[in-house]
């Protein structure tokens, strides 16, 4: 069947939503892992039936689940995320706590799972406290790519309000050695050697919330996105500011333009138009809801700078929800579908690139993440 499969992580379980290519009628399957927080689910581009889910909770810790049949059944795989000792530091080292004092690195949960583009058995996990792990055996075991935490700036990294989390990982579409990651609140980093070493890529970011606005690290980057046809062009939603880089992150410039507010969490790129970008402006860092009670996605067709509100089918009064960083996705059908989920439990779909929206499901638990698989 040609269509779309949405993988929705919520505070109380996972849901799998499927539709044909018209994307007007949806089957809702779930909750899977009822009662657990599902920070993220994602399907393998190399084998669409292989899905990964991060299942966690305050009581019983972290579980990683894998499905080999498109979400019909799941099995727990390895969940041992052991930090590597770091050269020149005691044990796994320390980062800074909220109050600036050193705190030993300790694993809390998996925020993001990023499957390899080519190998179904290889998957990356971005975790809190911020580190990147890799499995090459279908999730049975995990090994830290410790060069990231081992960067000289590591002891200075501080948590954002949600914790010191590695929440974003972009894989270069053709160069397996190159990856981009983002950490709250350390900033963005790039590797050109498969994860052995990492370079902070934060030049051009200005963050008024830190003592030195142009610091090499310390920026609260909320999300990154790229289009596979132009992997040197990166888009960033920072705590405040929407940013763009045309040199693989070596430098950034602001593209917030005429947005009503440039605070927000997710950012994504149209599947067929590399200069068409989507964000969801949020009122402020002290009021994490959409502005003025209106749920509006903003679209730029000029690679940023000029933005248009997309409102058709979205509530335009009395709406006070947030859209979290991993809760937006695009499919690759001919008419690019755009999807997002809200903290109010609604999942919206636009089957026409954002021109119009429909609510697929209205009363799920608070949505933490949305990913989509294009089925052909």
């Amino acid at each position: 069947m040609t269509g779309a499969r949405l993988l929705v992580g919520t505070k109380k379980g996972a849901f799998v939503l499927t539709s044909d290519q018209r994307r007007t009628a949806w089957k809702v399957d779930g909750p899977h892992f009822a009662g657990w927080e599902i920070y993220h689910l994602k399907g393998s581009p190399a084998d669409p039936d292989r899905l990964w889910a991060s299942q966690s909770g305050g009581w019983f810790g972290q579980v990683v689940q894998r499905s080999d049949d498109g979400g019909l059944s799941w099995d727990a795989v390895g969940n041992d995320f052991a930090y590597e000792p770091l050269e020149g530091r005691e044990g796994a080292g320390t980062h800074q706590d909220f109050d600036g004092t050193p705190k030993p690195w300790a694993f809390t949960r998996v925020w993001h799972l990023e499957p390899s583009l080519t190998d179904p058995d290889t998957v990356f996990a971005g975790v809190e406290d911020a580190a990147l792990f890799k499995s090459t055996d279908g999730g049975a075991s995990w090994k830290e790519l410790s060069g990231l935490r081992g960067h000289g700036s590591g002891p200075q990294w501080q948590p954002g309000a949600g914790g010191l989390c590695l929440h974003t990982l972009l894989l270069h579409p053709t160069d397996e050695q190159r990856m981009f990651t983002a950490i709250s609140a350390a900033g963005a980093f790039r590797t050109d050697d498969g994860g052995a070493s990492w370079l902070p890529i934060n030049k051009g970011l200005l963050s008024g919330e830190i003592p030195q606005q142009e610091a090499e690290v310390g920026h609260c980057v909320h999300n990154l996105a790229l289009h596979p046809s132009r992997p040197d062009t990166l888009y960033m939603q920072k705590h405040w500011d929407v940013m763009r880089s045309d040199d693989a992150g070596d430098s950034w410039y602001e593209i917030s333009g005429d947005l009503p507010t440039d605070f927000g969490f997710p950012i994504d790129v149209h599947a067929h138009e590399p200069e068409t970008v989507y964000v969801v402006p949020i009122t402020s860092d002290s009021f994490h809801v959409v502005p003025d009670g209106k749920l509006r996605v903003y679209r730029s067709r000029t690679g940023g700078g000029e933005w248009e509100p997309l409102t058709q089918g979205l509530p335009q009064q009395d709406c006070y929800v947030n859209v979290l960083r991993d809760a937006m996705a695009v499919d690759t059908l001919d008419d690019c579908g755009v999807y997002f989920g809200t903290t109010g439990g609604q999942v919206y779909c636009s089957p026409d690139g954002g021109d119009s929206w429909q609510c697929i499901v209205r009363d799920l638990p608070s949505v933490l993440s949305v990913e989509v698989q294009t089925l052909r």
Binding site: G61, Q62, D75, D80, A82
Partner: protein
């Protein structure tokens, strides 16, 4: 035979309907036998690396809190006889 009662979330995770029966004479042996029989439970009761009990997990038997006792203390006779269960309890919380 030691009978172990798990909280709902862990029974779901391990795909168990009711009690688990194990050969175990201490709390440490209960944990090891549980994890060996049901690998999905690894890391959910105690940290995989340090072996420390998770803060929101408690162990009870015969109306006694065994959470802070030595892992190597013998379990109460009533538990060893199978008359009383070994209880794994998650902290109560709302939301």
């Amino acid at each position: 035979m030691t009978r172990v009662v798990l909280p709902h979330h862990l029974r779901s995770l391990a795909r168990l309907d009711g009690e688990v029966q194990l050969e175990a004479g201490t709390t440490r042996e209960v944990l090891a036998a549980l994890e060996a029989a049901h690998p999905a439970l690894r890391g959910t009761l105690r940290d995989t690396g340090s072996g420390k009990r998770r803060p929101f997990v408690r162990f009870y038997a015969c109306s006694e809190d065994l959470s802070h006792a030595s892992l190597d203390d013998p379990l109460p006779d009533a538990v060893l006889r199978g008359d009383e269960p070994f209880l794994v309890v998650g902290a109560m919380a709302g939301g």
